[in-house]
Symmetry: C4
Subunit: 219 residues, 4 copies
């Protein structure tokens, strides 16, 4: 069994079929992330010529808010996803399956964004915001499950220290998931406060991976 | 022209032009899969403010069912496709052509999904479900043809045992194709039963490649 | 990316900035091809519940014809494009620019398809078919220009014999371009004959690269 | 990916988490660029059968102008982006973050294009053109920030001379940004002149990287 050093990991057994590289895992995921993030723009309507343009655009501020929030959220999920796969060596069918579930929730986000935006005024604002929050929460939880699964299965990892690091990321993610869960409850009573919370959280989610993973270069 | 051992396979003759790698085959396929799966969300309409939100969303359950079913189906086809190309070394024009036909049916699925969903109640439910089933069946059959073609042309494969494995996958796929064909007949008489069958089958299709390919790591 | 003897070609001078690999050239092109081909499905409307489904679908046969024709055409262009870049080693800015022009015409095709399909009956069928034909012709011509440019600049090629082969492909492409140009004239007088011609040609365009490039494995 | 002497750069310290390759950075960016550029076609409506086709198409010249301008602009941004990453070895979180901001503005461009096109006649032409110009300007500025950041952080670069070159590109980009800023002011008074300016600038932006980077092969 003369193997090149990095191949030794292959001896560790896996409970599932292993894909020997992540090329298509990454390409397909990047495709879905990129499309979902770019489809968001289709939900911003162009005001007709009959209305004065500036007031019409100001009035549709929820459309721009929704575009920004969901762009930032999908961007942050993508950033975490890229940080995860950069520590992975191979994928197995469980990781592929969990990833498909993550992408299912990411793919649904343009709908949830449009739902929240179109009901940000009106009688059902609370429910609309809560449904958006639920979509974000489910995507976030699935990503955590994926990170946890990879961290616990070292044959998937490219480096031995990667699992410690992923476990640390996994624990820190509970903060953002907690904020999100609180937001769900708040949404039903004070919808706009929940939106502010999601917005703050989204921006934090972008900064989060930068801070959380910063210690890595010390290895 | 000293060639590395794995290059020797190039000496085996092919009846068609050979592409020496699968980079663009995979990239283009991943693109179409990712776009088709993400376009599905465009078919879920957002209820207007004038209607109470929760009942309106409950009433449009077929939209969510269609999104889930077709997402899972395209996801499972992608998973099988990625499992196939991971066993391939090169592609030839026949494989490229068969792949384009597969992608043609995958690309049509957002239409077929919308057709089924919008006619799930109404006078033509049976025909709409059967047409959806036919689209799924044609995609499934084309994938089987592609798998069979690759299995029979060992110069396309990266490993000698891969063709045995692909033949085993090919035979097991008949189960899902049979279920699908039965669904087509059922659809015309009991459309909702066929939908249940497709749903069950779709979930099986996700689990199927995990089980079917599991034996591989024993080699 | 250990680079060996074939890298000597880098000594040949180029009149333009050279990109040392084709990764992003291919990824961006594959993206545009995949999206344009998948957007075609958005132009097939779903008949409303109020109409009997089968006659309604039969009546919208031009939509399905348009989907098939343009899918096959974009697929064939992609196949030729992948065959071209597989013979290329690097790209320069002229090749990148010509490629952007090609993608501009490919990206316009969903519009031209919809235009032809919606005017296949009505007073302006001839003009609509001719405009579709013009879009196809311009894409085809730009691809020929790109092939010719690459064939004439051997520092772009991965193999010395590739330019002979590309010149042969370039010459054979005149047949399909000629058919297309004839179709343009025919379209204005007998639009449906032109559609039949385009359909025949599209199918030939798929088979064409298989035949044209077949000689390659003899080297 | 045999890694040799140039890997020594990894010893240089970075203030942020480093991604050891640019695969997903490029794939995700290429995806967003390709989708944004291909979505532009969805904003060109097909005239109904009831209107004479040729006059109807002539009347909607702003749609074609918008398609061409934004296709060329996104194409030129992509070309500059590909030229940049070809000089990069790795990415860090700051580069990833700045890139996401760039993609946010690129993703918004189909909306801004549609806004400009639909208001090119009417009372608010000036504001619509200025908003389009602002979107283009913000994308252009973000790209300049990204280029500057990369040029100043040599551990991101693949070659030692690359930062000199990027600094030169950065300085030359001020010309195009200046033209754009002037266009913003002009737009409010002479909107169509600003459109002409943007058109001229867009075409220059395509030719610009070819000229600016030409000196590179002298190294």
């Amino acid at each position: 069994m003369a193997q090149a050093p990095e191949e030794l990991g292959a001896e560790r057994t896996s409970p599932a079929f292993i894909f020997p590289d992540l090329d298509r895992f990454n390409a397909f995921s990047d495709g879905v992330f990129a499309i979902a993030i770019t489809l968001l723009v289709l939900d911003i309507p162009v005001p007709p010529q009959s209305e004065p343009l500036v007031p019409a655009l100001v009035e549709q501020w929820p459309d721009f808010l929704g575009y920004f929030m969901s762009f930032a959220f999908i961007g942050s999920i993508w950033l975490s996803h890229a940080s995860l796969t950069r520590l992975m060596k191979v994928g197995d069918t469980v990781a592929y399956g969990a990833n498909l579930v993550l992408l299912l929730f990411v793919g649904l986000l343009p709908f949830a964004t449009s739902l929240m935006v179109k009901h940000l005024s009106g009688p059902d604002t609370g429910i609309a915001v809560a449904l958006y929050g639920m979509n974000v929460l489910l995507a976030s939880l699935t990503l955590s499950v994926l990170i946890r699964y990879v961290a616990r299965n070292p044959y998937l990892l490219s480096e031995d220290v990667a699992n410690e690091m992923l476990n640390r990321v996994f624990r820190k993610r509970w903060i953002s998931i907690g904020v999100n869960a609180v937001g769900l409850g708040v949404a039903l009573i004070f919808p706009l406060l929940a939106v502010a919370l999601y917005l703050a959280q989204t921006i934090l989610l972008i900064i989060f991976p930068l801070v959380a993973l910063r210690g890595y270069r010390e290895y």
